[in-house]
Structures are given as structure tokens and as C-alpha cells.
Subunit: 271 residues, 2 copies
């Protein structure tokens, strides 16, 4: 017998989340939804973008002095001015790199080097998907207790390819690929799950994208910093001691952190 999909909370949601499907009884399952970021939370990503940037700098460095602070920041400036047209992801990065390289070299860059930059895009889109330590076990442990969802921004095609290559579909079957992680996006996703924000925990490496908008809406965040963060993601207004923010240093700490938050949520709900 298959249990019917059910809705969490009393809000009129746009979709139901069917976690009842995999459990014998509804009561056995928590009504706290856990969201996971993907890049640099589940697997390495920024390393590959950084490596591409380093190669970009060395290519452009054959034409100009890239240690000059004015030129050093030019790629980021081009990427930012193009965000509204390209969005996030490796294809937009490659197009911005080409634009920046032509500008930075005043058009002197050779087509052989343009081809090398195009190849950087290919390489970044095909980078290996290496799960971070303990991720599979941690996600699996949380998924036995809570409904889970992957919420990731960036390029649909690339992210789907990485999720498949990571082999995480079984434990993370629900994927929301969004174009921007702002409060409006989280509010929409939570409404689709019919989960009130105060019953949502987001786990991720970016205070700007994974914590700030969720905390602003009344949700909970678990921050696991990654060794490197894209400059664009470093700007945020999150207080380190926010009462609904937890800090962890490895995936093995996720299950106990989520369990503790979940207990607080249930206490609050019954207080």
C-alpha cells in the first residue's frame, strides 16, 4: 500500500511534498524540511572555477601585467555586469572571460588563446564530481528522518549532469534549480512544498545565498564554510551569532545539528 501524498503545515501550498510515500506511517516522519545547497556543500566546485581563473590569468598575463590591481579585478567586474544577462554558471563565466580577455588585451589576444579560454569552459563543465567527506552518509541519515530537497542555483544542464554523476538521485530525489537564491525564491520553493519557513533548515557553504535569505524569512540555517568562496558570495549581512544559525565544520556534524534544530522547532510548536 502506498500512503497518499500529504501537505505539511496549514498554509495553502502550491504543491504537496510526498515524503509519506517512503515511510510506513506519517507520524514516523518529521515535519521539518531540510534543504541542501550543492556546489561546495555536497561536492567540490569552486576549486575548478578557481583553477580556470588561474589559467585565464596566465593566458592574459602573456599580454599585459595582470598584477596591476586595476586589471586584476577586471574579470570579476565583467562577470558581475553580465550576471543579469548570463546568470550563474560555467557558460556565463566562459563568455565573460572571453569578453574580459579581449578588453584587457585591447584586442591583441590571439585566436589560439581565445580557443584555450573556450576549452577552459569545456573543462569546467566536465569537471569531476567529488563528494566532500561524509556527505553521502550525512544526507542519507538526515533523509531517513526528514524530507529533503536540493536547492541549487546555476545552469540547469550542468547541475543536472553533476547530480547524476554524483549518484545522489536516490537519497535526494527532489531538486530545485533556481536562478537566484533570494528571499522571493526561497518563499516560492517553500510554498510549493507547503512548508512554513519556521520548519525549514537550509544547509550550505554560502552565508549570502544559503543563510541570509532563509534567516530573513524566519527559517534556520546551517553554515559549513568551504575552503574558498567566490568573491561575489562573500558579501552578506549575517551576524555570526544569529539565534537560528548554526556553524559546522564537516558533513558528519549535519545530522546531529539538524536533530537539535528539529527538537527546538517541535518545542516551539508545542510551547
Amino acid at each position: 500500500m502506498t500512503a497518499a501524498p500529504v501537505c505539511l503545515g496549514r498554509r495553502a501550498g502550491r504543491r504537496c511534498y510526498p515524503w509519506a510515500m517512503n515511510t510506513p506511517t506519517l507520524q514516523a516522519r518529521s515535519s521539518v524540511l531540510v534543504g541542501f545547497d550543492a556546489d561546495d556543500t555536497l561536492w567540490k566546485s569552486e576549486d575548478y572555477y578557481r583553477a580556470a581563473e588561474k589559467t585565464f590569468q596566465s593566458i592574459v598575463g602573456e599580454y599585459i601585467d595582470i598584477t596591476n590591481p586595476q586589471t586584476a579585478g577586471h574579470l570579476l567586474a565583467v562577470e558581475r555586469r553580465n550576471l543579469g544577462i548570463y546568470g550563474y554558471g560555467a557558460k556565463g563565466m566562459t563568455l565573460s572571460m572571453l569578453e574580459a580577455a579581449i578588453e584587457m588585451t585591447s584586442g591583441r589576444i590571439s585566436t589560439a588563446d581565445i580557443s584555450r579560454i573556450l576549452q577552459l569552459g569545456h573543462d569546467t563543465l566536465r569537471h569531476p564530481v567529488d563528494l566532500l567527506d561524509g556527505v553521502r552518509e550525512a544526507v542519507a541519515a538526515i533523509a531517513t528522518e526528514h524530507p529533503v530537497v536540493l536547492i541549487t542555483k546555476g545552469d540547469l544542464f550542468h547541475q543536472e549532469s553533476k547530480i547524476k554523476r554524483a549518484g545522489l538521485q536516490d537519497i535526494l530525489p527532489r531538486i530545485e534549480i533556481v536562478s537566484e537564491k533570494d528571499p522571493a525564491t526561497y518563499a516560492r520553493v517553500l510554498a510549493e512544498f507547503a512548508v512554513p519557513m519556521e520548519r525549514f533548515v537550509m544547509i550550505g557553504n554560502s552565508l549570502r545565498s544559503d543563510a541570509e535569505p532563509v534567516l530573513a524569512l524566519g527559517g534556520w540555517a546551517v553554515h559549513m564554510p568551504y575552503a574558498m568562496t567566490w568573491a561575489h558570495e562573500q558579501e552578506h549581512g549575517v551576524a555570526a551569532d544569529h539565534p537560528r544559525l548554526r556553524h559546522v565544520s564537516c558533513a558528519a556534524q549535519w545530522p546531529q545539528t539538524v536533530a537539535a534544530i528539529s527538537a527546538l522547532i517541535e518545542e516551539g510548536a508545542h510551547a
Copy 2:
């Protein structure tokens, strides 16, 4: 009072589709789900890609004889070999154009012309969104009778931007952006809606993407050809007289066509 979201059909679905939310009673609403393609079905798109291609040919034509059949097909060949890395959309097209231009000119293309190709990408991503004749009225008419969903492939960021600029969110609030329109994708989307395929009607301009996979799974398709079709979309194996395929020539015919299909579905269900 807000009606609770409900599931259609007896299949265990992954999500519920909440069309009950906007209607006073469930019974007043059809249980046939209608899907719409976006590009060249709701608004012009291929025109802009074709215009970009034409400019591309004229740029490359300054270096080589592009009337030579071997060179004429080179861009499509590059786009196809990159589909598995870039997916669909204007960013992938631009990257493929750059790659093709360098190959076709044996690296002789100038950086000024590389910049012109980059600009083509910008222009295509920002093309105006012109709804085709009668689309708004037709979608609105169908949406009062049936649950509706937009199913479109391509680049998430670009498609979201077009949907917003088209101002269709109100009548088409549910959007599924998919990386490929194959049977597996349609099956997943329908499972999320908990709608059996035989109660699904897909309206679109591509026999390959909008009709063939839907018909193969037991659903219904309404084909409205667009004046131009990307070469890649011209390959299909759909019989023009397939019993669950209808042909229309303008959006004004959509509501009556869907009504007729819906009646057949209900007849079949009660037979």
C-alpha cells in the same frame, strides 16, 4: 476557504497539483492537464536565433566562402557535438559560434569579429518577447477549464526572464524548465503532477520535442507549426495521422481542440 491540494489519478505521484486552490469546487475543474511549450509556441524565438546565425554567416563570410556546402553546415555540427556539454540555449549557441568561427577561418578571425559574435549572444539573450497572435486569450481560456503548465527546455535564467517579460505568470504560474524533452522527462513531470499520461495534452510547435515523446507515452499532442524550425528539431518519427495528434494553425484554435480532446478522454474514461 481554500480547498486543499488534491491528486489526480490513482498513481502515487511525487507532488500534488493544486488547481483546486483557484476554484470553488474540485468538480468544476477538468482533470486533464494541459502543457504548453514556450519558444515559437507562445512567443517568437527562432527568428532571433536565425537572425543571429545570419549575422554569424556574414561575419565568417568575410574570411571564407560560406556557400560551400561543407562549411555551411559546420555551425550546426559544432552545436550538435556540444549539446551534451552546453545543453540548449543562447549561451551554448554563442560558445559554439565562437568555436565554429575559429575552426572555419583556421584561426584567422579577428578579435573585433570575435567581439561581434559575443555581442550576438547578448542580443539574442535580450531579444524582445513578442507573444504570438491570440496566445494570451487562448491560454487564459484553457486555464479557466484545465490545470496548465509551461514545459520548456533551455537555459533556466533566459527562460525565466522571458516568462517574466511576457507577463504570463498570472495565467501560467507553474513552469517546468527541463534540460531535454524526452519521454523520461515528460514521465517525471507528469509523475510530479500525479497525472496519468492519458490525461495530458501538450501544445507546441515541435513534433520532435512536444509531440513524439508525449504520444509515445500515451498522451495527446496539439501541433502548431511555426514558420521556421531549427534543423535539429526537424528530425522526428511522428505520423501526421497519429490518432492522438491534432494539427492547428493558430492559437485561437487551441481552446476548442483541447475541449474536443478532453471530451474524448472523459468518454474513454467512462466507457
